[in-house]
């Protein structure tokens, strides 16, 4: 039976098990939207900005592990999702993005709402396609889902011209696709794995660094087994939060530019780093020449380009993290060493000394401290909520003070650092898990970037809780200006921020405000009780800084720590808050 391109598109999505499609209509996708109109298998969630749709699909993908799917129109619709696509690309998130395109005969003609989105997203997608013939459509969609979800996942874009959505073809969904030039390696080299086991057995001061790859691969169990068996402390990159329980006694928290003191000291002084599913990003290594000077490095990653890109590696193992760690555990178990505990005792004691020397701390005051808000959220949700964040100080405090226990509960833009990511991502996650508690920890700057998605949240009755750490400044930039630019706060003071409570109410959501520390707990509990979208405006200390901090150009042991008894500069009266 012959179907139109639009109908084929719909059938393909059904075959892929897609239930939610995030998008925004437009001229060239009218046929597709018409095909979506009176069917119930795939729900199109209408956002209020295409960027919101992209981030929602991303949040959905991070929370579930399934690919997020987006449908937008050509021209401005397509260019509006570029930030979302780049965000997913940098963090290796599986997404399939469909953009409409002007009819094939008008391509290249500077037509109305035409944009060369394939050219624009070539550097920030794993792959992209322009479908010129409706007979290729089904196979292309199958290939796109295959590429997006295998190997190192990533966003794949399909550009569909309008006439292709109208033209008819026989619908045949291929059972499987073979791409001769794409064979992601999954099983690690056994010789290298045995090498790794030997090196681990000989090490005296080992540290495991787990990253986003552990979560993508679903390897949390294998990682826990490795750490507990060999009694090696585990630190996490920002993308790896949740891969290892944050409240486990072997967990050192996050490492890197704003990592914990003890994690950075442990890594710096280690004689062996077991890097699993992480890519030695500059936020983690600090000055590369000074990174872990005495350590051998075992690096497990599915992407060979990540290995030996930034640091020299002694035992590289290319493969899927879950498989490799499982094999590694088997080899280690077979060469069982009963005395792991004794060998590790002094190293673990040293690590605990560092933890006691500089724990994650902040000074309480009569003004709300943002760290206090995050701690309270952690306490009240018992560490079981899904937490999305925006970018900047709010993101760092959430990473530092919320101890993630399970994978896929932390949604944050790591690689690209996109402000405005958190709110739509939280909405996307809430679609995936309507009965779970989902928070967005935001700053007053970031929340204004995609605030229009309040409409989407309200329309679908999504009880997302947005905690705005409102300090009237673009916090992270202000911190840098305070520490390195002589307090010249160039364009970081956010005057003109609206009353968030009123904004929430204008959209029909609930707005709550906490102006003093004693209000905080009550506001959070109230927000959770109310089964609606909530904006919580926490009037926070304007001058608080994220500590520890590894300044640019420094090695990770050269951290700036919170000065004891620091006197914070006087706060400006910046808003009329009741």
């Amino acid at each position: 039976m012959k179907l139109t391109g639009a109908e084929i598109f719909l059938e393909c999505l059904k075959k892929e098990g897609v239930k939610h499609l995030f998008g925004y209509p437009g001229g060239v996708v009218l046929n597709i939207f018409d095909a979506l109109y009176d069917q119930k298998d795939v729900e199109l969630i209408l956002t209020r900005h295409e960027q919101g749709a992209a981030h929602m699909a991303d949040g959905y993908a991070r929370a579930t592990g399934k690919p997020g799917v987006v449908l937008v129109t050509s021209g401005p619709g397509a260019t509006n999702i570029v930030t979302g696509v780049a965000t997913a690309y940098m963090d290796s998130i599986p997404m399939v993005i469909f953009t409409g395109q002007v009819p094939t005969m008008l391509i290249g003609n500077d037509a109305f709402q035409e944009a060369d989105i394939v050219g624009i997203t070539r550097p920030c997608t794993k792959y992209n396609f322009l479908v010129k013939d409706v007979n290729d459509l089904a196979r292309t969609i199958k290939e796109a889902f295959y590429i997006a979800t295998t190997g190192r996942p990533g966003p794949v874009l399909i550009d569909i011209p309008k006439d292709v959505t109208v033209a008819k073809a026989e619908f045949k969904y291929p059972d499987k696709v073979e791409i001769r030039s794409y064979h992601p390696s999954v099983k690690g080299n056994m010789w290298q794995t045995k090498q790794a086991a030997e090196v681990i057995a000989k090490s005296k001061r080992p540290v495991i660094i787990a990253g986003g790859g552990v979560i993508t691969s679903g390897a949390a169990e294998e990682l826990k087994e490795l750490a507990e068996m060999t009694k090696i402390p585990v630190t996490l990159t920002m993308m790896g939060l949740g891969a290892f329980p944050g409240d486990h006694k072997l967990c050192l928290g996050m490492l890197g530019m704003h990592g914990t003191y003890y994690a950075n000291m442990a890594v710096h002084n280690a004689d062996l780093l077991i890097a699993i599913g992480m890519r030695f990003d500059d936020r983690v290594t600090g000055k590369v020449e000074g990174f872990a000077p005495g350590a051998k490095i075992i690096h497990v990653d599915i992407d060979p380009t990540s290995i030996r890109k930034n640091v020299r590696v002694d035992v590289p193992i290319v493969g899927d993290v879950k498989q490799v760690v499982r094999d590694l555990n088997k080899v280690i178990r077979e060469g069982a060493k009963e005395s792991w505990g004794a060998v590790r005792k002094s190293w673990l004691a040293q690590v605990e000394d560092w933890r006691a020397e500089n724990p994650m701390d902040y000074e309480q005051d009569d003004v709300i401290k943002p760290q206090f808000v995050v701690e309270k959220i952690y306490e009240i949700t018992k560490g079981d909520a899904i937490i999305a964040t925006e970018v900047g100080q709010n993101q760092m405090w959430a990473a530092q003070f919320y101890k993630f226990k399970k994978p896929r509960t932390w949604l944050s833009s790591g690689g690209l650092g996109t402000m405005g990511y958190g709110f739509p991502a939280a909405i996307g996650a809430q679609f995936a898990y309507p009965n779970k508690l989902v928070f967005d920890i935001a700053g007053d700057g970031s929340i204004q970037m995609n605030i229009q998605e309040l409409a989407t949240a309200m329309l679908h009755n999504l009880p997302v809780k947005v905690a705005i750490l409102n300090n009237c400044y673009l916090g992270m930039v202000r911190q840098w200006q305070e520490l390195f630019f002589n307090k010249r706060y160039s364009s970081t003071c956010l005057i003109g921020t609206p009353d968030f409570v009123k904004v929430a109410e204008a959209y029909g959501a609930v707005g709550l405000r906490a102006s003093k520390p004693s209000d905080v707990e009550g506001v959070i509990r109230e927000a959770i009780k109310v089964k609606k979208t909530v904006f919580m405006d926490f009037v926070c200390d304007q001058m608080e800084k994220v500590y520890p901090m590894v300044p640019a150009g420094a090695a990770i042991n050269e951290m700036l720590l919170r000065p004891k008894g620091e006197i914070l500069p006087a706060r400006k009266k910046l808003r009329a808050v009741k």
Binding site: V118, Y127, I147, I179, S181, P304, T305
Partner: protein
Amino acid sequence: MRHIISILVENKFGVLSRVSGLFSGRGYNIESVSVGATLDPMVAQMTIVTKGDDQIIEQITKQLNKLIDVIKVTDLTEFEHVEREMVLIKVSPKAEFRAEALRVVDIFRAVIVDSSPKTYTIQVTGDEKKIQAIIDLLKPLGIKEIVRTGKVAISREGKV
């Protein structure tokens, strides 16, 4: 160090753009690039000459392999190979040097493909050393314009 990398790619639209985008996006240097069809119409062959230390070349090779349209990457610098490039040189020698120009063409087994009262256009094929040598000899005679194809290379077969 100069490396000559031979890449087999799917013959699809946009592939050249993808590969050169990879180089420019990551700041790798392309000295020359040449592309052409192979015996299989679905497969194209690209030859890129680039420069970098071992770590950079390793990254380039891995990044190229990562591209979905790339079928095979071979760094021919590692192996015995034959390299050739074709160059068209327009010389405008003064009247008394016109004969000298013809002698140089003979010596290098090049050919004249165009001539005019004031100029000769010389076509020469060879490896880098030969090309450089003929250019050096023609320079004093007055080179008006040079057009190069970029290098192509092919591995030598083992003699055993």
